[in-house]
């Protein structure tokens, strides 16, 4: 938008460089000044990822028991669990990640993720928005930004949460609520799972629905003429989305997990993790741009061994299958998969045989969509308490993910009060993560 009549940031820099040569008139200078105050804008470019599956493990998953074990650390740091070899030379995972270890050659394990927020909600904010929480402004989640930048594809909502919006920071922040996620409302693992209200009710055929739509448009006109409000516009947007979804059987079919062959469902596992990841694969395959799904509870202050043995096997099976399945169907090239959590856990096992909150270093897993396979990126120190090499902060992580999606994260979006805010403030693309 800011590009229309003014100079964008890059051409401004070129003009600025020319100024040294003395070829700039006063009028040019004034125009530059104005351009400076405008929103920074960049055209989207062809990214390597067409969609994202964001798997969020709420509670703060321990990095030590999963992707960053420390077999040579003293027992109170290492914990009781064993380590296993993976498809990445020399790299080990925790003992519960049996199947994932076998597809590790498709993954980039970032072992140097770091931020300073040790409270759940603040850490979660960082890992959904790429920003530290601010008292003055709420920031949009990556899903809402993608929704804002790209809009729907193949009549499907751009941003879908399975089973529902996981937390308040997965929302639209300062952006209009039209960019909020579509929550399924029920869990795909449940028998007879169906997303409600996708098809026309009994007795209403396409032609009658068309009549109804035109009547509704007529009824809405009077109000639309005199009222303006964000809530109103957002409602209009969602009605438009609903129309396209209802009128596109293919799009609706994406939600139908029953259409999957039994063998595939078994491979993923019939539990929560399997059903959610399988549905996520169906959705990105059909056109959803960003699917967020959560699994389990990882706030293991007590008895971490029991916690991991209880939850991780199901996750492991589902996740490894997801990567294999995406690979098989050719979707992995264009689908970026990310596993993240709000933070990691303390280096030492505590008195309750658990670990507490630890944001200074933890692990994030990336795969597909232009991310390099079979790589360990960065490292933590010998006790998994600080990043040792290539510390990765949320800004750079998100800037890199946006880059894969073809979005320049330095672009500014407009917050209320004509206040341009960068999608991510000061992040850099980590080229080492890219294939």
């Amino acid at each position: 938008m800011a590009n229309r009549n003014t100079i964008d940031r890059r051409s401004f820099l070129t003009v600025g460089a020319l100024a040294g040569a003395g070829s700039l008139t006063l009028a040019d200078l004034l125009r530059c000044k104005q351009a400076q105050a405008e929103q920074k804008n960049y055209a989207a470019f062809e990214g390597t990822a067409k969609s994202v599956i964001h798997i969020f493990l709420p509670g703060g998953m321990a990095h030590q028991e999963s992707f960053d074990p420390k077999p040579y650390a003293p027992i109170e740091y290492r914990g009781e669990m064993r380590q296993i070899a993976t498809k990445i030379d020399g790299a080990q995972f925790g003992e519960t990640l049996v199947q994932t270890a076998q597809i590790a050659d498709k993954l980039t394990i970032c072992r140097s993720m770091t931020h300073g927020e040790a409270a759940h909600e603040r850490g979660t904010h960082n890992m959904f928005t790429g920003y530290r929480p601010s008292p003055a402004l709420t920031f949009p989640s990556i899903g809402s930004v993608v929704s804002h930048e790209y809009g729907p594809r193949n009549n499907l909502p751009p941003y879908v949460c399975i089973p529902s919006q996981p937390n308040e920071f997965a929302g639209t922040g300062y952006l209009s609520s039209s960019f909020s996620p579509f929550s399924l409302g029920s869990d795909p693992a449940q028998g007879g799972f169906k997303v409600r209200d996708l098809s026309l009710p009994n007795g209403i055929d396409d032609s009658r629905f068309a009549t109804r739509r035109s009547m509704l448009a007529a009824v809405n006109q009077h109000f639309a003429k005199k009222e303006k409000a964000d809530g109103l516009q957002a409602m209009d947007t969602f009605y438009d989305r609903a129309y396209s979804l209802i009128s596109a059987p293919q799009a609706r079919e994406a939600f139908n997990i029953e259409a999957e062959p039994a063998a595939v469902r078994d491979e993923y596992g019939r539990g929560t993790a399997g059903a959610r990841m399988l549905l996520a694969r169906r959705l990105v395959g059909a056109g959803v741009r960003l699917v967020n799904l959560t699994f389990g509870g990882w706030d293991m202050h007590n008895n971490i061994v029991q916690g991991f043995r209880g939850q991780m096997p199901e996750f492991d099976k589902a996740f490894a299958t997801l990567i294999r399945d995406l690979e098989r169907t050719g979707l992995l090239k264009e689908t970026l998969v990310m596993i993240s959590s709000e933070f990691g856990r303390t280096p030492k096992i505590n008195a309750q045989a658990g670990r507490d909150h630890w944001p200074k270093v933890f692990s994030v897993v990336l795969a597909g969509g232009g991310i390099k396979g079979g790589q360990i990126y960065g490292s933590s120190n010998s006790t998994a308490s600080e990043p040792e090499e290539d510390a990765l902060d949320p800004q750079d992580l998100f800037t890199t993910v946006y880059h894969c999606l073809g979005i320049v994260a330095d672009k500014e979006l407009m917050a209320p009060g004509d206040r341009p805010i960068e999608i991510i403030d000061g992040g850099k693309v980590r080229k080492e993560l890219l294939a």
């Binding site: 579509f182 209200d197 009077h222 809530g231 109103l232």
Partner: protein, 831 residues
């Protein structure tokens, strides 16, 4: 020439103590005297000055280190203000006592005198007192060094204030633990951080000045005062203050308010800290400044505010554990504006309009009778006016009909039910593992009875929070069964009854408010003696005063004496702590009680609170109209907490009855109630309205067929519709439990779901009217009135006429129209 004038002026200043000759008014001379104060927008007009404000109100200088930055503000008759510090004339009765450096005064000799400030024909004097003018002041760790950690950003959460510090060095977050900070600085890794022999070579100093690599970068320069104080303290052998060192008891930021004329206008602030020993200090250079709206007014480290775009900002200063703020309004330069002629109905209008006048915003006009009718029914009963109610109101010619309707609706049982619903959210009425369905129901019934009888709010809350007994026999005791953790109980009480989120202070001093950890744990101590034991029936619990149990401070383990939040320490011995607490909590002594509730009521009628969100009262989230909130609270208290009177005052006001249509001046204003807001109807009421207009009945668990959604007692009972439209689950006390954002699921449900389609068919509204031989176009009108409280416009009728030409189609067309009305934005929103 200019240089000569400077010399001349300095000479006068030095010899006579007069800053500039009283009758010599040329601007150049003024500029020369105080070069720092050249206003970027040209000299201030000297005409039209209504009054002068000089800050602080008195200058007290103690020791040679003390100083005072003085700020002079001119208030013009048109409401604008201007920083005229540099342009005003200062005269001291005894110039020998002080030394002036730009706008800062330093001690020169002991004694008392007066400073006369003149500008634009106005004059003001303020007392000046100087003591121990030549004595030095030792540098104190707590009073001088700790503030440096805050001002330089060392102890923020992203740096050394993080829970485990940063890069091996930890400070307490925002300085909540000065003794611990002293220990870590001086005793941890001895010899590393401080160099007593060459203080400037201390690692702590070299890191701060960027002389050695520092992740946090350069924080201050070797020329700065922070550098001098920090090294001075190290040179003194890093003493920890004696236990008697005064503490900062209050903080003031001046000026209190400014109305700036156009982008680029500036205003210097001055910040004064008062201490427990009665002294004060100018802490402008040590205070941390923030603006809640940089776009309209930004502030830099030195305390200079610069106006930006039109709007309003709250400028805050933080020092020690205190945060204070003042309001800045920025107007377009030379704006011409006249406020519309309109007599206010009551104090609500007067106070709202007063603010609008300051902002140069004209309010929208009064809404039509039809709009008022629908709005007041929805707001007071949660239902739409019926066709008969519509006809009665619209045909009445009584000029008092709006007020009469308000009174009538206030006495409807639906009004009570609506507010019981709100209270059930605040008190988290919900069955769960601790609270059986029976207890929950008894609790809900108790609540209904209290609201139904209009029991004065203070009595009701006192009764609720101090109750002891079985959760069956004295059902309000369920409040303490719902949450059994002492700290959580304290947090919930503060959030619901005072509108405050004190959670932050559990682990560290509240970063954006005044609450310290001491405040938090002292308040929690009121709830530390709640006993709970099983009763005969396994579903019942007995809540009683156990008389034992304390709360310990996490830093140092001190047992905390109960203290009212922001209030006094009560006399304890032999008393039930909750009894003591409620007598203060629900009383005029607690300044937050009445205003919190008034604000919650206000938010129901306007869509947002005067403080918004309503349960996030803090200094950095100020009221958009503090005078209005104070007056509502005052009247509410004065009427013995008569809830209905409060509602009546609000509903009668023009402010409530404004149109949603905006004008040029209020188009972008969202904070000052200059127009009505579109508000999505709450989930429960929306379902009730759909059932009402479709003439259908709902069945909810535990309620008879035909009960309304707003009557559902249990927060756990829900339906797909209610969940999708954002009904509160009552899991937490947060106002964010109720969600009003539109979603795709909502659109899909109204388009395809059972709520619209099945109800239209099942309720047979169209069939019945057709059977009664009502003309199809008449039915269109009936449906419009039922859903929108208005008749269709001629254009709208034109659309439906051809469709209804064939009577055989009438039923289908009318049902489709009905479906369209239920799906329309006009139906979903209160407007």
């Amino acid at each position: 020439m200019a240089r000569l004038r400077v010399l001349f002026a300095l000479l006068i200043a030095g010899v006579a103590g007069v800053v500039h000759a009283e009758d010599a008014a040329p601007a150049a001379a003024v500029t020369a005297t105080v070069p720092a104060a050249i206003p970027p927008q040209g000299p201030a007009p000297t005409t039209g000055v209504d009054s002068l404000r000089v800050y602080p109100e008195a200058v007290n200088l103690l020791t040679s280190k003390d100083r005072q930055l003085v700020v002079v503000q001119a208030v013009y008759t048109n409401g604008l203000t201007r920083d005229v510090t540099g342009e005003s004339t200062w005269t001291f009765a005894n110039p020998a006592l002080v030394r002036r450096d730009a706008n800062t005064l330093w001690a020169a000799a002991d004694g008392a005198t007066e400073l006369k400030v003149e500008f634009g024909g106005k004059m003001l004097t303020l007392p000046v007192k100087v003591e121990q003018a030549t004595a030095p002041r030792p540098i104190s760790f707590k009073l001088d060094v700790m503030p440096i950690f805050m001002k330089a950003g060392c102890n923020t959460g992203s740096c050394h204030g993080a829970a485990r510090g940063k890069d091996g060095f930890r400070l307490s977050l925002f300085g909540y633990d000065p003794d611990g900070d002293h220990f870590r600085l001086t005793r941890e890794i001895p010899g590393r951080r401080l160099d007593l022999a060459v203080p400037a070579k201390s690692l702590a100093i070299e890191k701060s000045t960027g002389a050695v690599p520092h992740t946090g970068g350069k924080r201050f320069t070797p020329e700065s005062e922070m550098f001098k104080d920090f090294t001075g303290w190290i040179a003194d052998n890093c003493p920890l203050d004696a236990a008697t060192v005064p503490t900062c008891t209050s903080l003031e930021i001046y000026p209190k308010q400014a109305v700036l004329d156009g982008e680029g206008a500036t205003q210097q602030v001055t910040v004064l800290a008062k201490y427990s020993d009665g002294t004060d200090r100018d802490v402008t250079s040590l205070a941390l400044f923030m603006s809640n709206n940089d776009n309209s007014a930004a502030i830099v480290d030195s305390g200079l505010v610069t106006a930006g775009k039109r709007g309003e900002a709250f400028i805050m200063a933080r020092f020690s554990t205190h945060t204070v703020g003042s309001q800045y309004i920025v107007l377009p330069k030379d704006l011409q504006f006249t406020f519309p002629q309109e007599a206010p109905v009551n104090y609500v209008d007067e106070l709202v309009n007063e603010k609008l006048k300051k902002l140069r915003i004209a309010p929208s006009g009064i809404c039509s009778d039809e709009v008022f009718l629908r709005r007041i029914y929805l707001d007071l009963t949660g239902l739409m006016p019926t066709y008969d109610e519509y006809t009665r109101f619209m045909t009445s010619a009584d000029p008092e009909k709006r007020n009469q309707l308000i009174d009538e609706l206030l006495n409807r049982k639906e009004f009570t039910e609506l507010w019981v619903g709100y209270w059930a959210e605040w008190l988290m009425v919900r069955s769960n593992n601790q609270i059986s369905y029976k207890s929950m129901l008894l609790y809900y019934n108790w609540l209904s009875e209290q609201i139904g009888k209009n029991v004065p709010l203070d009595k009701m809350v006192q009764n609720l929070l101090s109750a002891s007994g079985g959760t069956f026999k004295v059902p309000q005791t369920n409040y303490y069964q719902n949450e059994t953790d002492t700290l959580k109980v304290a947090e919930n009480v503060a959030q619901v009854f005072m509108g405050m989120r004190i959670q932050c202070a559990q682990c560290h001093n509240h970063p954006f408010d005044r609450w310290t950890q001491d405040d938090y744990y002292s308040f929690a101590a009121f709830f530390s003696q709640i006993g709970r034991k099983g009763a005969e029936d396994y579903r019942e619990t007995i809540i009683f005063n156990s008389g034992g149990g304390e709360v310990a401070h996490p830093v140092g383990g001190r047992v905390m004496k109960p203290k009212f939040l922001g209030g006094a320490y009560p006399e304890l011995p032999g008393k039930d702590r909750r009894q003591l607490m409620v007598q203060w909590m629900a009383s005029p002594e607690n300044p937050y009680f009445a205003s919190n509730f008034a604000n919650r009521v206000w938010a129901h009628f306007f869509g947002n609170g005067i403080i918004d969100p309503v349960d996030d009262v803090r200094i950095s989230n100020p009221a958009s109209n503090p005078e209005l909130l104070a007056e509502l609270a005052k009247r509410f208290t004065a009427t013995n907490y008569d809830f209905k009177q409060l509602v009546r005052d609000i509903c009668r006001s023009h402010t409530y009855q404004r149109s949603t249509e905006r004008n040029e001046t209020n188009a972008t204003d969202e904070l000052n109630f200059a127009h009505a807001n579109l508000r999505r109807i709450k989930a429960e009421s929306l379902l009730d309205c759909i059932s009402e207009v479709t003439n259908t009945r709902d069945k909810f668990q535990g309620l008879p067929l035909g009960a309304r959604a707003v009557q559902i007692a249990d927060g756990r009972t829900s339906t797909y519709f209610l969940t999708t439209f954002g009904r509160a689950t009552r899991d937490t006390v947060c106002s964010c439990e109720v969600k009003m954002e539109p979603t795709l699921s909502q659109a899909l449900h109204l388009l395809n779901g059972e709520t619209s389609n099945d109800k239209i068919r099942g309720g047979r509204v169209v069939d019945v009217l057709l059977e009664q031989k009502v003309e199809p176009l008449q039915i269109v009108e009936r449906l419009y009135i039922a859903c929108f409280a208005r008749k269709p416009t001629p254009e709208e009728l034109e659309v439906f006429k051809p469709l209804l030409a064939d009577p055989a189609n009438a039923k289908v067309v009318l049902e489709d129209l009905f479906w369209s009305l239920l799906n329309s934005r006009e139906f979903l929103f209160n407007h």
